[in-house]
Amino acid sequence: MTTNDELTEHTPVTAPKKSNWGSKLFFVTLIAILIFFWWLLIFSGGVTGDHG
C-alpha cells in the first residue's frame, strides 16, 4: 500500500515554467528606443557641423 505522502515524495514534480515575456518585451523596446535616439541625436548621418 502506497500512501499519498510517499507518492508525493517520489513523483518528480515539475514547477510550472514562469513566463517572463513581459520583461523581455520591455528590455527589447528599451534597447530599440536607445538605438533610435542615438540615430536621431548623435549619429551624424553624413551631416557635418555647420556654424553658419
Binding site: 513566463s19 517572463n20 515575456w21 513581459g22 520583461s23 518585451l25 520591455f26 523596446t29 528599451l30 528606443i33 533610435f36 535616439f37 536621431l40 541625436l41 551624424s44 548621418g45 553624413g46 551631416v47 557641423g49 555647420d50 556654424h51 553658419g52
Partner: protein, 617 residues
C-alpha cells in the same frame, strides 16, 4: 475684425493645401512671396519645379507684409508660445519620472509607488488637453500674424511638420492607454506591457520635444542653408542638426523634469494642507518629498547643460553671446540669480525640515546653519551687479564706475564660485537627508567619512582657487576655461557622494520615518519651487529668443514687423510676470479638476428614508 478673417482664410487654406499635397517647398509663393522669388521659381517653360522652389532665397519683408490687428503681434505670440511651452514641459516631463517610480514600485512590490505614479499621471492628463489647445492657438497665431515667416519655415522643414503631427497623434493614443490602462495592466507580464507603453510614450514625447526644438534652434543658428541668401540647400537632417540643437535638447529635457517635479510637488503640498486624516497627510508628505527630490536632483546638473548651450551660442556668434550675457539682457541674469537662489533656498529648507521625520536627523542638524550661511553669501554675490547707473556725485564718491569692494563680485568668476559652492552644499543637504534615517554599520565607516570630507574640502578649495586665480589673475581665455575645473569638482562631489553612500549603506540599520510629521510651513517651500521655476523658464526663454534681435531667422530673414526691437526691461518684466501668473491660475485649475474627479456627492435622502429611519428608532 473682418480683415482678420480675410487674412486668416488664405493662410489656413495654404496650410491645408500644403499639408495635403506635401508641397511645402513651394508655399513661399502661395503665401505671397515677392515677385522676384516667384519668377525665379518658374523655369523658361513656365513650369514650377519643386527643386527650384526649394532653393528660393529667404523672403525680404516690408512692414506691409505683416497684418495689423491693432495690437502687438509679438505680445500675442509671446504669451501663447510661453503657455504652450509650460504645459508641454509638464506633460512631457511627468511621464518620465512616473515611469521610473512605477518601475521602482513594481520591483520592490510596493503599491505606494504605483499609486503615487498613477496620481502624478492624473495631473499630466488634465494638462495635456490644455497643452494641445495652446499649441493649436500658437500655430494659428503664427500663420495669421507672421505668414511670410511661417511659409519660409515650412519651406525649410517641409514634411517634417507632418511627422510632428503623426507623433502628436501617437502621443495622445499612448497617453490615454497608459493612464486608463493602469489598473487593467497591473501585475505580472501585463505590468511589463504597461511599463513598455510608458517607455513608448516617453520616446514619442521626447521625439516631439527634439523636433520642436529644431525649429527654435534653426531660428537662432540656421544650418542647411546658403548663408548669403537664406536659400535652403541642405537636407532636413542638415537643417535640424544645427550647432545649438543638442545643447538645447539636453537643457530642455533636464529642465522639464525639474519643472514637472516642482509642479507635482505643489500639488502634493496642496493636498497635504487640505488632508483631514493622518494617513492622507503621510501619503501626500511622501509624495511632496519625492517631487522635491526629483525637482532638485534634475536641477543640479542643469547649470552644466546651460553652460554647454551658452558656449555653443558664443561659438556660433560672439555677438549673440555677448548680447545675452554682457549687454542689455545681462540685467535679466541678475533676476535669474534671484530665482535660482530662491529655488535652492526653498529646496534646502524643505530637506532640513524633512529631517524632523526621523530621530536620526538630529545628528546633522548642527550643519544646516553653515549650509545656510554659504547659500546666503552665494546669493548675495550672485545678485551683485557689475555696472549700476550712478549720478556724477556718486561716481566721484566711489572713485570710478565700479564699487572698489563690490565691483569684483559683479563679474562672472565671482558668480561661478558662488554658484558651484551653492550646488555643492545643496548636495550636502541631500546627503545628510539620506543619512538621517540610517545608522551605518560597515567597519570602514570612519575611513569612508574621512574620504567624503576630504573630497568636499578639495572640491571647495578647487572651486575657489580656480575662480580667483583664473578669473582675476589671467587673461580671458583662461577665465572661461576655469569653469571646466569648477564643473568637474562639483561633479566629482556628487558622483563620489552617491557611490560612497551606496557602499556605506550596505547592512545599515534603518530608523523609522514618520511620514506626515512635518510642519505646514515646509509645504510652502514646495509652493515656492514651481513659482520660481515658472518665472525662471519664462525669463530665460525670453532671453534665448531675444538674442536674435531684429531677425526672424538669425542673419538670414530679417524681422520688419513693428515689434522688431528688444523691448525695455520693464516691459519684459511685466510680460514674464504676467505669463507666470496666468500659468499659475491654470495650474490651480488643474489641481481643482484633479481634486474634483475624486469627489463624490452624498446621495440626497429620499422621502421614504426619513420615515424608515424614524421607524427604526
Amino acid at each position: 475684425m473682418h480683415s482678420i478673417w480675410r487674412l486668416l482664410l488664405p493662410v489656413v487654406m495654404v496650410a491645408v493645401i500644403g499639408f495635403g499635397s506635401g508641397l511645402f517647398p513651394s508655399t513661399t509663393m502661395a503665401a505671397g512671396g515677392t515677385a522676384e522669388q516667384h519668377s525665379a521659381a518658374i523655369n523658361s517653360d513656365g513650369v514650377e519645379h519643386e527643386s527650384i522652389a526649394a532653393s528660393l532665397p529667404a523672403p525680404k519683408l516690408k512692414r506691409s507684409d505683416y497684418p495689423n490687428i491693432g495690437t502687438s503681434s509679438r505680445a500675442i505670440v509671446w504669451v501663447v508660445a510661453q503657455m504652450h511651452l509650460f504645459f508641454g514641459a509638464l506633460v512631457l516631463a511627468v511621464p518620465i519620472f512616473v515611469l521610473v517610480i512605477e518601475l521602482i514600485g513594481f520591483k520592490t512590490n510596493d503599491d505606494r509607488y504605483d499609486d503615487m505614479a498613477h496620481e502624478f499621471m492624473k495631473i499630466s492628463l488634465t494638462a495635456y488637453a490644455i497643452t494641445a489647445l495652446f499649441g493649436g492657438t500658437l500655430a494659428l497665431s503664427l500663420f495669421l500674424l507672421y505668414p511670410q515667416f511661417m511659409s519660409y519655415m515650412m519651406q525649410a522643414f517641409g514634411s517634417q511638420v507632418l511627422v510632428y503631427a503623426v507623433l502628436f497623434f501617437l502621443e495622445s493614443i499612448l497617453l490615454y492607454i497608459y493612464y486608463y490602462g493602469w489598473n487593467a495592466l497591473r501585475y505580472g507580464n501585463r505590468k511589463w506591457v504597461h511599463l513598455t507603453l510608458g517607455l513608448l510614450l516617453n520616446a514619442v514625447g521626447t521625439t516631439l520635444l527634439v523636433v520642436a526644438n529644431s525649429w527654435s534652434t534653426f531660428m537662432m543658428a540656421p544650418s542647411g542653408i546658403d548663408p548669403a541668401t537664406g536659400a535652403i540647400t541642405g537636407s532636413i537632417w542638415e537643417i535640424m542638426k544645427g550647432p545649438l540643437w543638442n545643447p538645447l535638447n539636453l537643457h530642455r529635457f533636464i529642465a522639464n523634469i525639474a519643472f514637472g517635479g516642482a509642479v507635482v510637488g505643489a500639488y502634493a503640498a496642496f493636498k497635504f494642507l487640505a488632508a483631514r486624516t493622518a494617513a492622507e497627510k503621510a501619503h501626500y508628505d511622501w509624495m511632496g518629498y519625492t517631487s522635491n527630490f526629483i525637482a532638485i536632483l534634475a536641477f543640479l546638473p542643469l547649470p552644466f547643460a546651460g553652460y554647454w548651450l551658452m558656449a555653443e551660442v558664443y561659438a556660433y556668434s560672439q555677438q549673440m553671446g555677448i548680447l545675452a550675457m554682457g549687454g542689455i539682457l545681462a540685467w535679466l541674469f541678475v533676476i535669474q540669480a534671484v530665482l535660482i537662489c530662491t529655488i535652492l533656498l526653498a529646496g534646502n529648507y524643505y530637506l532640513w525640515t524633512g529631517m524632523a521625520r526621523t530621530e536620526g536627523g538630529e545628528r546633522y542638524r548642527w550643519l544646516t546653519k553653515y549650509i545656510a550661511v554659504v547659500l546666503v553669501l552665494g546669493f548675495l554675490v550672485w545678485i551683485t551687479p557689475h555696472n549700476v547707473i550712478y549720478t556724477t556725485s556718486e561716481i566721484a564718491r566711489l572713485g570710478g564706475g565700479n564699487h572698489p569692494v563690490l565691483g569684483p563680485l559683479g563679474i562672472m568668476p565671482a558668480k561661478n564660485i558662488a554658484v558651484f559652492l551653492m550646488l555643492i552644499v545643496t548636495f550636502l543637504s541631500f546627503q545628510l537627508y539620506r543619512r538621517a534615517d540610517k545608522v551605518i554599520t560597515v567597519a570602514w565607516q570612519d575611513w569612508g567619512n574621512a574620504l567624503m570630507i576630504t573630497i568636499y574640502v578639495v572640491a571647495i578649495a578647487n572651486v575657489i582657487f580656480a575662480g580667483i586665480y583664473y578669473g582675476y589673475f589671467t587673461n580671458t581665455v583662461y577665465k572661461v576655461g576655469s569653469s571646466v575645473i569648477q564643473v568637474m569638482s562639483t561633479v566629482v562631489v556628487i558622483v563620489s557622494g552617491v557611490v560612497i553612500d551606496t557602499l556605506m549603506f550596505k547592512g545599515a540599520k534603518t530608523l523609522p520615518v514618520f511620514w506626515g510629521k512635518v510642519t505646514d510651513r515646509s509645504q510652502y517651500a514646495l509652493f515656492a519651487l514651481p513659482i520660481a521655476f515658472t518665472w525662471l523658464m519664462a525669463l530665460m526663454g525670453y532671453i534665448r529668443s531675444s538674442v536674435r534681435t531684429h531677425w526672424h531667422v538669425y542673419a538670414v530673414m530679417e524681422d520688419k514687423s513693428p515689434d522688431n526691437f528688444i523691448p525695455p526691461l520693464a516691459t519684459v518684466g511685466n510680460m514674464v510676470t504676467g505669463i507666470t501668473l496666468l500659468f499659475l491660475v491654470f495650474v490651480l485649475f488643474i489641481f481643482w479638476i484633479a481634486n474634483l474627479s475624486g469627489t463624490k456627492q452624498v446621495p440626497p435622502a429620499r422621502e421614504g428614508d426619513s420615515t424608515l429611519a424614524e421607524g427604526a428608532q
